[in-house]
């Protein structure tokens, strides 16, 4: 892991947390933002202590959406947890499926056919594009641009969700990956439709950037706000676009060589300042890189089976042992840790959710900023509460 030195000029003290000196007049105002605040992406509370308009203290409160996912999974067969993983980060169900399938495949030593690997890469990168597009849309929505950028993002997301529906049967709860492959084979018409959508994606990103990137209001609201220093990001275990926006070159697709990502040419965009604008820009650039991966994968997808011949759906009992499977989900490192005692259900099942861990440094980013900026900083973390609380 390398911390990339910034080449551009930065204002002095940009990487130090702001000094908070209560002026001694009056008392701090404590505000509970959420759990039903429109900007909290679901049910999440921030207990904020304010000195005037500035944030002095911020305590995130999780758990409103806790559904006992891990314990339920320990009592259920391995395959029965697959549809539940869709409901963790419901924006990117296919990457969740992949992470869980990867963990179980590691545990059971189950190989995956080549065609299935390509299908997984295609679906994961489509998921990344639609997740980043809509997360930027929501970020701008929280800035006060109600509607327009979000609807532009959703227009494109709709096309990708239509592809998911025609392949997996469901738009968001795909339940598509299986241990040792994928559930349904992709057809030639589906591939053609995907090629058409992918061919239209660069134009969409261009349009999105023309709409937003140089917008003075967006720059004024985002630049220098919510700075996350690379040392803190690494120490807190932050991952994904958040970490890379702080200039840390760490992408599991490059580090872990899972799946077949070794075969594709793509670059890892890195930020310079670690502020909201960098996070926005890293996501835009990641969409462009995803499009590159998609073009390569769609070009050389081989024919062949999509399920390993030895893969079992019912009566699946991996040998005793433990495994940790992780992938670069759109929000960061998504990992599943499994212990098997040889039975039909896992002895221990643990999710390492990127959303939750990226959220733990919320206070460090928010201190000294205005309340209106807290909403923005929170939006730039890109979380889904289904994954935070599980």
């Amino acid at each position: 892991m390398t911390v990339v030195e910034s080449k551009s000029e930065k204002p002095a003290g940009w990487n130090r947390p702001p000094v908070i000196a209560p002026d001694g007049e009056g008392e701090l105002l404590e505000v509970a933002m959420g759990p039903h605040h429109p900007s909290t992406h679901g049910v999440f509370r921030m207990d904020v202590a304010l000195d005037g308009e500035r944030v002095v203290r911020l305590k995130p409160v999780f758990g409103y959406l806790h559904r006992n996912h891990e314990k339920i999974a320990e009592g259920a067969a391995y395959i029965a947890s697959m549809p539940y993983t869709d409901r963790l980060d419901y924006f990117c169900s296919l990457t969740n499926n992949w992470a869980y399938a990867l963990a179980v495949e590691k545990l059971a030593g189950q190989p995956v056919p080549e065609r299935a690997e390509y299908i997984r890469v295609i679906l994961a990168e489509l998921t990344r594009v639609q997740n980043h597009a809509s997360s930027i849309g929501f970020l701008i929505q929280e800035m006060g641009a109600s509607g327009t950028p979000l609807m532009y993002a959703f227009k494109e997301r709709e096309k990708i969700l239509d592809l998911f529906e025609s392949l997996t049967g469901s738009r968001m709860m795909c339940n598509y990956m299986r241990f040792g492959g994928c559930r349904v084979d992709i057809s030639a018409p589906w591939l053609d439709a995907t090629r058409k959508v992918v061919a239209g994606l660069p134009a969409f990103v261009d349009e999105f950037e023309a709409l937003l990137s140089t917008n003075e209001i967006l720059m004024a609201r985002c630049q220098g706000i919510g700075v996350l220093r690379p040392e803190l990001a690494v120490n807190a275990g932050v991952s994904g676009p958040m970490l890379r926006a702080s200039g840390v070159n760490y992408d599991i697709r490059k580090v872990d060589h899972y799946g077949i990502y070794d075969r594709f040419q793509f670059r890892i965009p890195l930020g310079d300042h670690g502020d909201i604008y960098d996070r926005y820009m890293v996501r835009v650039l990641e969409m462009r890189e995803s499009i590159k991966i998609l073009e390569q994968a769609l070009k050389d997808i081989p024919a062949g089976p999509i399920m390993d011949a030895k893969a079992k759906l019912r009566g699946f009992r991996p040998k005793p042992g433990e495994a940790y499977g992780r992938i670069e989900a759109p929000k960061g490192e998504l990992g599943f840790y499994l212990i098997s005692d040889g039975g039909p259900n896992p002895y221990r099942y643990r999710v390492r959710p990127p959303s939750l861990i990226n959220l733990t440094i919320l206070e460090d980013m928010c201190l000294g900023h205005n309340v209106a900026d807290v909403v923005l900083i929170f939006g730039s973390v890109d979380i889904v509460l289904g994954e935070v609380d599980r």
Binding site: A76, S166, L211, E216, M219, I306, L313, R314
Partner: protein, 215 residues
């Protein structure tokens, strides 16, 4: 110049706004109850039970093996096995579900019941307008409500249903061929009693291995 970026963005919105008058691609809204997008062929909502022939009760493919009940992740299926048996589509006497309930307020449309069913008896419906004012009985579907004909299955998932029919026909042909061979063997022996050649006595094949790609 300050404001350049905003103007550039405004030009983009204007292009989309005026473009929506000439290009269908830019006009994405569908006014739902009046206007509908056709559902995708693979779409799935809630499960239903397939029956062959005209009588839903006699034609149910389900043999109450209770695999789906066991494998269902949220445990929304409840099955009671019948006391007696009825012949299935190859003529083998089988149990049938005396009771088959699916609580669709619990069901999460994951399709695992469809994947594990060895008898092609349970399939996914595409009907999604299921709002009801009775949240208990209205959302608990019994076997009469769940039973839908094979023709209906063909109408919603034509490709998949054709594959299933071909697979079942193949299996039936195999069973019949085996019964015929057994009957011929019995006739050749001549000394054996005639009852041994009855088709019901032939040993039917094991449930077909489920093809993952088909469902």
């Amino acid at each position: 110049m300050l404001g350049d970026g905003i103007l550039k963005g405004m030009a983009e919105t204007a292009r989309n706004f005026f473009g929506s008058y000439v290009s269908k691609d830019r006009l994405t809204t569908v006014e739902y109850p009046e206007e509908r997008i056709p559902t995708a062929e693979n779409a799935r909502v809630f499960p239903f039970l397939v029956y062959d022939g005209a009588d839903w009760e006699a034609g149910l493919r389900c043999v109450a093996c209770q695999i789906c009940e066991k494998e269902c992740p949220p445990k929304c299926i409840y099955i009671e096995k019948s006391a007696d048996k009825k012949p299935d589509y190859v003529g083998k006497p089988q149990f049938y579900p005396a009771r088959f309930d699916i609580d669709i307020s619990v069901c999460m449309s994951c399709q695992i019941c469809v994947e594990v069913c060895p008898f092609e008896a349970i399939k996914m419906d595409t009907q999604f307008e299921l709002a009801t004012d009775d949240r208990f009985a209205g959302l608990l579907e019994d076997r009469e409500k769940l039973a839908k004909s094979n023709e209906y299955y063909h109408s919603i998932h034509p490709t998949e249903a054709a594959e299933v029919d071909a697979r079942l026909a193949e299996e039936k042909a195999k069973v019949e061929a085996r019964a015929k061979a057994a009957a011929q063997a019995a006739a050749a022996k001549a000394s054996a009693p005639a009852s041994a050649s009855a088709p019901g006595a032939a040993k039917p094949s094991a449930p077909p291995a489920k093809n993952e790609g088909g469902s």
